[in-house]
């Protein structure tokens, strides 16, 4: 019986998840049920045909997964527009069907798919990359952040040797467009029509309940990038034109936002 039930389930999922028109989908998968037609497998009700009834599940499958992508990528949805986003979401669902018990990570490949559509330009995939980093920050471990006072315990002469371990939620993202400015305007209910070109860097992290997006200047991005790749403080600041007071301000801000988890003292 398990085999029979298994074939029936394979067939039902195949028909429900097939994006082609129902007639084509049913024909394409009828071999799974010995060439039987839909009517012989599903009962009609007093009000609905077997086709109408299975169509409810077909619609629900697409709608549920598209909704998940809409939730994760609201700004990207706005940038692309409803029709284009729906079309790409349909392609996404076919390319990356869910195999997981939950949908937390379902949308993670959307930036990749958008990159493959070169005609869209780079902005949509960059914006999606930023939005996915926000999702990842929400789900990243809630671990301790560096207490800024810890720095005071390091002898000044050895400060240059100290490293800073990034917090698990923290990401440094570099773009060729001003995606954070676009996202900021979108989330403040004054959305823009286009993402302006121009190099930018954004840091994303979560401190407790709050997820942060911080624009980073080129110098800040250089320092953070070096620190997070394991460089000690002195090497991270090498060739970076910034005074000690300004550098301290950066560290205070970064620490307050929870970008570091610990000092690495050699």
């Amino acid at each position: 019986m398990s085999d029979e039930l298994g074939r029936l389930q394979e067939w039902f999922v195949a028909v429900v998840t097939d994006p082609r028109p129902l007639d084509d989908a049913a024909r394409a998968h009828e071999s799974l049920i010995g060439g039987a037609c839909l009517d012989s497998v599903l009962l009609r009700s007093t009000r609905e045909s077997a086709e109408e009834r299975v169509s409810i599940y077909r619609h629900a499958y697409q709608a549920r997964l598209v909704e998940c992508l809409r939730d994760d990528y609201p700004a990207t949805l706005f940038l692309l527009g409803e029709d284009e986003f729906e079309r790409l979401a349909g392609e996404y669902i076919q390319r990356f069907p869910s195999r997981s018990p939950n949908l937390n990570a379902f949308g993670k490949h959307l930036p990749e798919l958008l990159r493959e559509h070169a005609q869209l330009g780079e902005a949509p995939s960059e914006l999606a990359t930023l939005e996915w980093a926000l999702v990842e920050a929400i789900h990243s471990p809630t671990s301790a952040t560096l207490d800024p006072e810890t720095l005071r315990n390091v002898p000044p002469a050895r400060l240059g040797e100290v490293g800073f371990r990034p917090h698990e939620s923290a990401r440094l993202l570099k773009f060729t467009h001003q995606v954070n400015a676009y996202a900021q305007a979108f989330f403040q209910d004054s959305p823009r029509q286009r993402v302006e070109p121009g190099d930018s860097a954004v840091v994303v992290a979560r401190l407790g309940y709050k997820v942060w997006r911080l624009e980073a200047s080129p110098a800040q991005a250089t320092v953070l990038g070096r620190l997070w790749s394991g460089e000690p403080l002195a090497r991270a600041f090498a060739d970076v034109d910034v005074g000690p007071d300004e550098a301290m301000q950066w560290f205070r801000m970064w620490s307050e936002k929870g970008l570091f988890s610990a000092l690495v003292v050699p």
Partner: protein, 277 residues
């Protein structure tokens, strides 16, 4: 009283992210929260931060949508391990999921798909419920699903299937009276007869919810207030079972928490006497 000695928790509400802050600030009086288990799996972050605080304040029960108990795909023991750990973390009184399947080994539809109600499917599902209960070491309650299609192969009614499954696998039941209403409309069976067909002492929790008429069928959308015929089914179900735990699900166009709570409390006079937890 149910046969499992599971206490009645009174009135509960489905925990939704939109209400986290309000709940933690206002600490409304409430019997219990039901969490959607999958929202707290494969995350180590913010959802668990909120859940830990809420579980300190309220009794919690776990409700899942991915057990896929009727599937022929192998049981997902990694998922079960996570469920078990989540129960330990929250102290959930019981774990529930649906009499359904959600996909194959290669594709999860994230939908509650209908089973053919046959002797073979029954035997298959009984065996899986036993394995799951042994693994979870926790009371497992299965919920009657809302459905929109039936298989010609079915030889049993859904109520008969569910009754025999619960008896032979020795599991509990979560009776969703809105689902009974929705499926009775969609398939043309008698809702009250369905309720009376279930073993009364296995029902440990009720669900009520709103739904949407979509022309020829009704969809279980969990939207809006509960309609009077569904309250009437709760009245019938409470009288039949004596169960004292009822939960309102409101998942679409979610209003402020106080509106949800006010609606949920309409169930209170319909329930049997509460048993202290």
């Amino acid at each position: 009283m149910n046969r499992f000695g599971i206490p009645s928790l009174g009135i509960g509400v489905g925990l939704r992210t939109a209400h986290y802050a309000h709940i933690l600030e206002q600490r409304p009086e409430l019997g219990f929260f039901e969490i959607l288990s999958e929202n707290y799996l494969e995350t180590a972050g913010r959802p668990l931060l909120f859940l830990d605080r809420i579980a300190e304040l309220y009794p919690v029960v776990m409700h899942g949508v991915s057990l896929s108990i009727g599937s022929t795909a192998p049981l997902d023991f990694e998922y079960l391990r996570q469920l078990k750990a989540l129960r330990k973390r929250t102290g959930a009184r019981w774990i529930s999921d649906h009499l359904c399947w959600t996909g194959t080994a290669h594709k999860n539809t994230h939908d509650l798909l209908p089973l053919p109600y046959t002797e073979g499917a029954l035997a298959h599902t009984i065996e899986r419920v036993r394995v799951v209960q042994d693994f979870l070491e926790a009371p497992l309650a299965l919920e009657n699903p809302s459905s929109y299609a039936e298989f010609t192969a079915s030889t049993l009614s859904e109520a008969e299937f569910l009754a025999r499954l619960s008896e032979q696998a020795d599991c509990a039941l979560l009776l969703d009276v809105n689902n009974v209403y929705v499926s009775a409309h969609n398939h043309g069976f008698d809702a009250k007869q369905y309720i009376h067909s279930l073993p009364a002492d296995r029902v440990v929790q009720f669900h009520v919810a709103g739904h949407t008429h979509a022309g020829k069928h009704i969809v279980d959308t969990h939207i809006g207030p509960v309609v009077e015929p569904v309250w009437e089914l709760l009245r019938v179900a409470a009288a039949h079972t004596g169960c004292g735990s009822a939960l309102l699900e409101w998942d679409a166009e979610i209003p402020e928490f106080d509106v949800v709570l006010r609606e949920a409390r309409l169930a209170e006079p319909l329930l049997g006497p509460r048993v202290a937890a």
